[in-house]
Every structure is written in C-alpha cells, then in structure tokens.
C-alpha cells in the first residue's frame, strides 16, 4: 500500500489490549455482546473520517465540573484536577480532540434518573463536562473525586472510583469510550469490568497521582494519558 492511503490508514484494534464482548463475570455482557465472529473489512473513507468537534463546541466552565452546575454553593467532596495528553500509538499528540466525561458525585451517586443508589445527590454537582485538547494534545478537567458505588452484578459488588470518558480521535474507528481509575483502589481485584481488560493493558486505565499537577490550597492532581488507535505501520519501502 503506497502513498497517502497508507499514511491515513488506522491501526486495528489491538485485541491484547481490549476486553472481550462476552465475559461471564460481568453478567450483562452475556445477553448483550455479539456472539458471531466480527467480519473484517478494509478501511475506506467511511472509516478514515469521523466527527470533528473543536473549541467551538465547548463553552466556558464545561471543563470545570466544580463550577458548571452550581446552584447555591460549591459541590461537596475532594476537588481534583485530572489532566493528561491524548496521543496516538506513535506517541504523537492529537490536538483539537474532544474529550467528554461524566461521573458520579463524591457520595457515589449519579444524577441520572435511573440511579437509585441510596446516597445523596449534590445540588451543586452535575458530573458532566467536556474539553478539547490544546496544540500539544493536552486536556485538563477540574472536578470532584467520584465515590465508589454498589451495583447488582454479584453479591456486595462495588465499582472502584472512576470517571467515564469518551473520545473520537482522528476518525470514527479511533472512537474510544473508557473509564479512568485512581491508583491503589482496593476494589480493583473484585471488579469484573476493570479485570475484563487483559493483564498488562488494564494498568493503562489507572491514573497516577501527580504532585506537580496539584494546585496548592485547592486540589490534588491526577495524570491520565489516553492512547488512541493511530496510523497503521506502513511497510518499509526501498
């Protein structure tokens, strides 16, 4: 494959980095994941293009969840800064890329109407935000550290603290929806969603505490880099 086409092609999903569709331990996958083999197809313009949302899509405070839903005061909980770089597999920064996040509040309760967990809502916290990476692929959010919450997958099941993220990247096939975790969470070993990712890859979902990101007297900082499917390695030409 030569020239422009080769440069534009995306790498494939790396199945050694990705969780399976069906995972007995995560019960609702059993009736919801595809069971037939995926049909491999070549990438065309349909796969090499994708939705573009730049700075025009983001308003002031969209990236500051401690401020973007205030009603009569500040949200409760531990303020944190979550920042990192969005890059491709060649470690090239992806500038002007949309990052959307959503999460529960510090008590472990989501604003979503279907969340019936008996923990308080926070009138000053929505838990949704978005931002666009800068010219170096860097993004930054200010938010409240999400709490752990129970779910019904198995007896006494609790999700580790996490923030949900959604990114498009360069094209529709680099689409990524994932979750960011916090270092040293004691719930990791019991969580089938986290453990559904092969060992060696799941560690990439854990942010690192970063004192240099911390803002004195204000908030702790966590670093989380996101690696999206990048250009396919092009064969050497001689």
């Amino acid at each position: 494959m030569a020239g422009r086409e080769g440069d534009d092609m995306n790498s494939n999903r790396d199945w050694s980095s990705q969780p399976p569709y069906i995972l007995e331990e995560y019960k609702s996958t059993v009736l919801r994941g595809p069971t037939k083999p995926l049909v491999p197809i070549a990438q065309s313009l349909s796969e090499l293009t994708g939705p573009v949302y730049g700075h025009e899509a983001v308003r002031d405070f969209d990236s500051d969840l401690t401020k973007n839903a205030r009603v009569n005061g500040e949200p409760l909980g531990e303020r944190i800064i979550v920042a990192g770089h969005v890059v491709d597999e060649d470690n090239r920064p992806l500038p002007n890329t949309l990052v959307e996040i959503w999460q529960c509040n510090s008590a472990g309760r989501y604003v979503h109407a279907a969340d019936q967990h008996d923990a308080p809502l926070d009138p000053n916290f929505l838990g949704a935000g978005r931002c666009v990476t800068d010219e170096n692929g860097r993004y930054e959010f200010r938010t409240i550290k999400p709490g752990a919450y129970p779910w019904r997958n198995h007896p006494n099941a609790w999700r580790p603290n996490h923030i949900h993220l959604s990114l498009f990247g360069k094209s529709f096939v680099s689409r990524l929806v994932t979750q960011m975790y916090f270092p040293g969470d004691p719930l990791f070993e019991f969580d089938p969603i986290f453990n559904g990712v092969p060992e060696g890859a799941r560690e990439r979902l854990v942010s690192s505490f970063d004192l240099s990101l911390t803002e004195p007297e204000f908030a702790l900082g966590y670093n989380f880099d996101i690696v999206l499917r990048g250009p396919k390695a092009t064969p050497m030409e001689d």
Binding site: R13, Q18, P19, P20, Y21, L23, S28, T29, L31, R32, G33, P34, T35, K36, L38, V39, P40, I41, A42, S44, L45, S46, E47, T49, G50, A69, E89, D90, N91, E100, W102, Y110, V111, H112, A113, A114, L126, A128, R130, H164, S166, S171, F172, V173, R175, L176, V177, T178, Q179, I193, G196, V197, P198, R202, R204, D225, I226, V227, L228, R229
Partner: protein, 199 residues
C-alpha cells in the same frame, strides 16, 4: 516509541446526562442528537427508526447509537476526505447520537438525509456505533438502504459479508408512516444477529 492502546470500558447505564443530555432533559448542552439535518441541508430527508434487542429478544432500554455519514454528495465533513468533486454541505455535519431510553418502546430515531455514494464503489450507507451497559467495547456496523438494490449488489463491504447475513445491514422503507422512514433494528445476538465489523 510505541504506546499501547487505551483499553475500552463500558459506557455504563448512566451516560445520558453526559453524552445525550438534551434528549434526556438534563441541564447540559448536547453536542449532537437525533436531528442531524438543518433547514438548508441538501438531500432527501429521511427518518431512521430502530430498536436494539438483546439475546433474549428483549428491548435494550439503555443503548446509545451513534451515526456517522456522508452528505448528499457522498462527501464526509472531515479533512481526510478532500475530494473536490464532491461538495461539502455547510449545513450538514454528519454525526448523530441517540439513546434508547426516552421513547415508550425504546426506539432510536434519527432525522437526517440519505447520503450519496461515497466513492463510486460503495452504496449509500450510515456508519453505526453501538454502545450500552453490558458491552465492554463498542461495536461497529453499517446501515444500507433496501431501495438501493443495484448499488448494494456491488458494494465491497456488503460483498465481504456472508450472503445469509447481509439482510441484517439493510434498512427497509416503512410504507405505513408518512415521510420517508426506514426501519433498522439491531439484534445483538441470536438468529438475526446483526453483522458487526472488525475494523
């Protein structure tokens, strides 16, 4: 230095106020919704209605469907598509997003335009991403149009799909509804399991 791909995780049950807030009536602006065509968008207006079924044949009430499509000239609104002969449409972005949790029968609804043929070889189609609680990884599929029989017959992607499963990718006109409405149901499993792509 090669860096490993960030693994996917489920979108979970509570994505609505983050990814489709206006559709679900949360106080946050939506980037995109089911209404993809504006007042001056070129092309034939169509509505796409579908359901998502799980392996027990039950409706999935908490799926998120995303659409990415070309405009009426077959051009994608993206820098990688720089074909000058296919015009861009300033009133068409090509992206839609709709959750199955706001209608009584858990349908998704997209109001858009019928895309043109992308590169002379591919039949008109919508690129579809399926996300839901219970999927650790989203799935890719495509929606083609039953009334594009000739184009479908020579489409390279459809040709890569076993013949007995091609029908799962083809939306049919619903003659009982006003306007141009196509029905496209997504079956996650079973006899009629939708074809999903490794791409």
């Amino acid at each position: 230095m090669k860096r490993g791909q960030t693994p996917s995780q489920t979108v979970g049950p509570f994505f609505a106020y983050g990814l489709a807030p206006e559709q679900y009536n949360y106080p946050f602006a939506s980037l995109a919704g089911g209404s993809m065509a504006g007042d001056t968008t070129e092309g034939q207006r169509i509505r796409v209605i579908g359901h998502v079924y799980d392996g027990a044949g039950d409706l999935v009430p908490d799926a998120l469907i995303e659409i990415w499509q070309a405009n009426a000239h077959g051009r994608y609104n993206h820098q990688a598509d720089d074909r000058k002969d296919n015009l861009l449409d300033p009133d068409f972005k090509g992206f839609g997003r709709f959750g199955t949790g706001t209608t009584p029968d858990n349908r998704f609804i997209f109001d858009t335009i019928k895309p043109g043929s992308v590169d002379g070889r591919q039949a008109p189609h919508l690129n579809v991403v399926v996300l839901m609680r219970g999927m650790l990884l989203h799935a890719y599929t495509r929606m083609y149009f039953a009334d594009e029989e000739a184009a479908n017959a020579s489409d390279p992607i459809l040709s890569a799909v076993p013949e007995d499963r091609r029908g799962t990718l083809i939306a049919r006109r619903d003659p009982d509804l006003p306007g141009v409405v196509y029905r496209f149901d997504i079956h996650m499993q079973g006899e009629r399991e939708t074809v999903f792509f490794d791409v």
